[in-house]
Symmetry: C2
Subunit: 299 residues, 2 copies
Amino acid sequence: MSVLVVGSTALDSIKTPWRENPRLLGGSASHAAVAASFFAPVKLVGIVGEDFPKRYLQLYRRHGVDLEGLRVAAGKTFHWAGEYEVNMNNRRTLKTELGVFETFTPELPEKYRRTPFVLLANIAPALQHRVLDQMRRPRLVVADTMDLWLNIALNDLLKLLRRIDVFVLNDSEARQLTKEDNVIKAAEKIHRLGPKYVIVKKGEHGAILSSTSGLFLAPAFPLNEVVDPTGAGDSFVGGLIGYLASRKGPIDSNLRRGMIYGSVVASFCCQGFGLMRTTKITREAIEQRVRELEKLVRF
Amino acid sequence: MSVLVVGSTALDSIKTPWRENPRLLGGSASHAAVAASFFAPVKLVGIVGEDFPKRYLQLYRRHGVDLEGLRVAAGKTFHWAGEYEVNMNNRRTLKTELGVFETFTPELPEKYRRTPFVLLANIAPALQHRVLDQMRRPRLVVADTMDLWLNIALNDLLKLLRRIDVFVLNDSEARQLTKEDNVIKAAEKIHRLGPKYVIVKKGEHGAILSSTSGLFLAPAFPLNEVVDPTGAGDSFVGGLIGYLASRKGPIDSNLRRGMIYGSVVASFCCQGFGLMRTTKITREAIEQRVRELEKLVRF
């Protein structure tokens, strides 16, 4: 089955202590769409400006991403510039130029509206709502977010939590949202806000799934070098929903492995700037890492 | 087979945002010895003052801990006082009174010297050396440490690393020791300093084993409430070596499960002040949590 992905489509200029790469293909929807594309057909909803490089459109297409929902508008593409510190965990934003994103209102092509799997990748909650308003009875809705929306759009986000199945956020966001320091307790509180499934991402420490059938501790694939972690969280949710869309049977019985596949795609993402490594993934390389992860946690 | 444990034997006054408990039984050797006692007979090497409460000696004895190596000296028992912040990860030391520990020189009773499993729990590296000097061909030597020794006794510690089999330290210590931010790379560097097995503890995020047969990612048992994390790391190594001493076959094939047992004992430790919860553990409760952990990571 296919996956609809909405989120940001951007140009990222990324600086690490060792290298600098200007105007890479980035944005939550780009990372998530490519990650999902290894498992299922993807439909993209987003907006770019007239300056958006043709080669990036070709890149989406090479991954079979349907671009009918990607609007090319007069103006500039959303541009983010950021810099990582030596430890690769702390980053600071150098520049945010919203460009055409400032006035973006997602309008779904008719053929998108019955897509069974919906990923509301990181984007303003009001836009996530607007996409859901246009969908007809999706089978599964997964939403990601970021601290910015907790700060400036909390009410929209809280309303969204009552409309989705899987909520994905990182540990610091879970603490901020619930005012609860313990992550397990924070997940319990988030269930009460709506979502049946809560996934707390912990970066290199993996992710925790909380659901009515209990907890699942998903490991991160261990890397001895991280080139650029930008988009790892988006790759995780993209790989997760792509895998789920490719499987038969109830969500509950596929969610754990889905997180493992998401984790593996995210690990590739960290091994290159922007989407450079992700776009070179083969399905066999993914399966290989999944088998390795199985061995890494066996006891 | 039996386990020799050397380390600090102390009185801990622990304050958390919710409660305060003065003069609890504490110290790395106390936590490690009790943790190991659920699996194997334990011999303790340490020193206490004349003020050391009789009920704590009885507590050791109830766990079958051999006290021939515990010296009772004129003076006061090592007393540590500390305070945890709300998030239970940051703690600050309020008081450190070394007392009889200041002049401690471990002297092993003759019958201790052929103990096959040796745990050099956190204590000055010079004292860890002194214990090893008196041992006759132990089967396995495990050493723990803390940041203090990296700061004030690095040379002693580096010499120790060439004499031990398993080195256990936490992630920030691994970074400090190797000047390497990536934990996997840090472990690789530590191997070159001597130890065949390197275990990096990551608190609530579990622990990583690095060995010639690759990595193992051990989960921490998830807790929705941490009462007092003091001694959790000591309980982890104690449970680990106790389990190893109880098993036949090569170390390599028992180390992964050993870490799981250590992790489980550490989780109980966090659920009470000092040793309050640990001393109430039953072997069946340990097995139960090990089975739960198996389910929590299965995919």
